[in-house]
């Protein structure tokens, strides 16, 4: 079972908020004593997702949580937007697939960087991506 220990919501609407969000995520990761490599992975994952949100949905919200499961602590990030949604999630999760001229590594790469990854999307309604990175995982 995963318990949520603290909650914090950051609204992302413009380019400057991206840096702010990354700093917040870093703060939380440092607080639960996450190692440097895992911190960097988490921040990079957050950076990928928030860029997607900015690019395709013009911003959205990110919920930052400290979660605990047994003896393991971690950070859970929930990115939700009300953008156009992703019509084909299977394709979007494939390496090199992009509708927007990028490298197409954002979503699949993020999945490899974190411990748990979940994506839900409805065309016309928006997308919700949830990731968890354990402090020592």
């Amino acid at each position: 079972m995963i318990l949520s220990l603290s909650k914090d919501t950051v609204t992302v609407a413009q380019e400057q908020d991206v840096v702010f969000l990354k700093n917040r995520v870093k703060e939380v990761a440092v607080r639960i004593k996450m190692g440097l490599v895992n911190q960097t992975r988490l921040i990079t994952a957050a950076s990928e997702l928030v860029r997607n949100m900015m690019r395709y949905a013009n911003g959205g919200k990110c919920l930052i949580e400290v979660v605990s499961s047994g003896r393991n602590n971690g950070v859970r990030l929930t990115f939700s937007d009300s953008g156009p949604g992703i019509p084909d999630i299977t394709a979007a999760m494939r390496d090199g697939f992009s509708t927007g001229k990028s490298l197409g590594l954002g979503l699949p790469g993020t999945k490899r960087l974190v411990n748990e990854f979940d994506i839900k999307s409805k065309v016309g309604e928006g997308t919700i991506v949830t990731i968890i990175k354990w402090a020592n995982g």
């Binding site: 840096v19 960097t40 990928e48 954002g106």
Partner: protein, 288 residues
């Protein structure tokens, strides 16, 4: 606003101004270092003129009506200059609050019936409160402009191109690389390559906190552009955690020469240019 009060205020314009100036000058937040008393007086006079001139019985409740726009314009202008001059929000707010006090003082002197007085005070309060809100909105907008200008400045100054050796350029990147910054970095670098006739450029990313796929894409583009100009581009300053993250993301940087430190990138550049760095042979003249 009843017709009487309008006329009353119009007649008492001078008194209001005097009272208001007295209030402002007595306030300990008065910033004589930022604005002279004469200037303050002319600002105040202009505002009262517009305010009293535009009072009518209909427009009390609706600040969006056209009749208010001259007042809001003047007030907005004052607020924005104050934000730029470095006034604190409290000092800016007091400018309007002290006007309210002066107006209420005049009403108290002139209207004797308590019922009537209360009614008029309420109306004046509503107008002035609205104007205060407008002042703050503009004030904050002014401050935001200052911040935006600084952001632009940071982007300008944070991308220096350094000539470390004849034919070798180094470009330390600090902070997050977004599209706008990459553009500046690329322009500066390419221009400098032409100006100095350099054949090797070193991009040092020690100061970049995280490399995600977008940053990587920007780096790859910069390297390709440099190569098109006939120069070689080395990326240095890749820290262990960055290396692991890049591998996990699945970004292919194998076509790019990468080094862990700026020193090793420089050493590589020397090798490519067939330069040798040697310890000087000890001579008899060496200072001990």
């Amino acid at each position: 606003m009843s017709l009487n009060t309008n006329q009353l205020l119009k007649k008492q314009k001078k008194t209001i101004l005097e009272l208001w100036m007295k209030n402002q000058l007595a306030d300990e937040g008065l910033r004589e270092d930022l604005i002279s008393n004469d200037e303050l007086r002319s600002q105040s006079e202009e505002l009262i003129e517009a305010l009293v001139g535009n009072l009518s019985s209909q427009n009390v409740n609706d600040l969006n009506s056209d009749e208010w726009s001259p007042v809001i314009e003047i007030l907005g202008g004052i607020a924005i200059t104050r934000a730029r001059q470095g006034f604190s929000p409290r000092e800016t707010g007091n400018f309007v609050f002290s006007l309210k006090e002066a107006l209420l003082e005049v009403l108290k002197r002139e209207i004797t019936d308590p019922q009537e007085l209360f009614k008029e005070v309420l109306k004046i309060s509503r107008i002035l409160d609205n104007l205060t809100v407008v002042t703050f909105e503009t004030f904050i907008k002014g401050r935001e402009e200052v911040i935006l200008r600084q952001t632009d400045e940071i982007a300008e100054i944070s991308t220096p191109v350094i000539r470390v050796w004849d034919g070798i350029l180094a470009l330390p990147i600090i902070g997050t690389l977004d599209s706008a910054r990459t553009q500046i970095v690329m322009e500066n670098l390419l221009q400098e390559i032409v100006d100095t006739g350099s054949s090797i450029a070193i991009l040092d990313i020690s100061g970049v906190p995280a490399v995600d796929s977008l940053v990587a894409q920007h780096l790859i583009k910069t390297v390709s552009a440099t190569r098109l100009m006939g120069a070689e581009c080395i990326i240095s300053g890749i820290r262990p955690e960055i290396a692991q993250t890049v591998v996990h993301l699945g970004i292919d940087l194998s076509n790019i020469i990468t080094k862990s430190t700026l020193a090793s990138a420089l050493a590589y550049a020397f090798r490519v240019m067939r330069l040798e760095v040697k310890k000087a042979a000890a001579t008899t003249n060496t200072i001990r």
